[in-house]
Symmetry: C2
Subunit: 185 residues, 2 copies
């Protein structure tokens, strides 16, 4: 790490400890020795899956009400990691719970932080092919509609408000590039 | 909106009101009439810019310590919107403050939510070309290193831990596609 950029934590105060997030307030020493306060949201991290049906050229997506923005969004299947869960197992579990599909071909794409300026949430992204239909089994407080979206629609809707969830944008951008590079049209 | 997915807010309790985030706890009625609690982080939203130097085929990025994850990340220039600020003006302002560059060609790409399951943060993304160097003027508590990254490096580092900030992944995926489609090699 560049030493000239690093902040040193002086103290930390827990503001809230919840089910999905914790909030803490840190006092830090800046590289110029001044002090500042940092509001930090702690999050367990999650997984997201691009389920691609090769034969029909469709992505299995989920439509879900998102309370913070008061909108129904179209997203890739995703969910929180359980305690000590391996991300690959979490991806298989969430794919099956949310869509009812199991995969025989799961490929890790990469991981990213959703908003590292204030939050430590990291999402691990996977591409799932060789999909077979089983039974959807969402959590009690999850209400989800499954949408099979053709590639042609995805190309049109990317960068429009219809697809506006960050992990979903990243996953679909990746898929389009992947299919092109592998000459899957 | 699909009525069968929508949650109805019953009550809302403010937990914390801060400089960057607020935290509130909502009681909601689910589509099946059961009740649930939702932890919601409120955030003012931000802008991010892909500053592309056409002649040298480089993207101007910033290296910055991110307290929540205790790492120095390589990101696209970005920042919070000021009160009532037009996102396009915010993009120009943040580009100049963080990198010292002004743009004569700013193009809106789209907007996305960083983590809509618990947070309302929305980021507006722009592509900036026709760049001219002026003076960097960061905020007092911002310590930023400017990195000009060649396209060839970006192609290699995308989907590796070196580029792991969501808005940056989205912006660079967009740029590579845009250059390819416009036959800019």
């Amino acid at each position: 790490m560049s030493k000239s950029l690093i902040e040193k934590k002086l103290s930390s105060t827990a503001i809230y400890e919840g089910r999905i997030v914790n909030l803490r307030l840190d006092d830090v020493k800046l590289p110029d020795n001044n002090e500042a306060k940092r509001e930090i949201v702690e999050h367990a991290g999650g997984v997201s899956v691009i389920p691609y049906l090769t034969a029909s050229k469709e992505v299995i997506m989920v439509r879900q009400f998102r309370n913070p923005i008061d909108e129904v969004l179209l997203e890739l299947p995703a969910g929180l990691l359980e305690m000590n869960e391996d991300p690959q197992n979490g991806a298989r579990r969430e794919l099956e719970e949310e869509t009812g599909y199991k995969t025989g071909d799961l490929k890790r794409i990469g991981s990213f932080y959703t908003s590292p300026g204030f939050c430590d949430e990291e999402i691990h992204l996977y591409l799932a092919q060789d999909l077979t239909k089983h039974v959807q089994k969402t959590d009690g407080d999850e209400f989800i509609e499954i949408v099979k979206m053709p590639l042609s629609d995805i190309k049109q809707k990317l960068y429009t408000p219809e697809i506006s969830d960050a992990k979903t944008v990243i996953g679909l951008q990746y898929l389009l590039k992947y299919l092109e590079q592998n000459n899957i049209k």
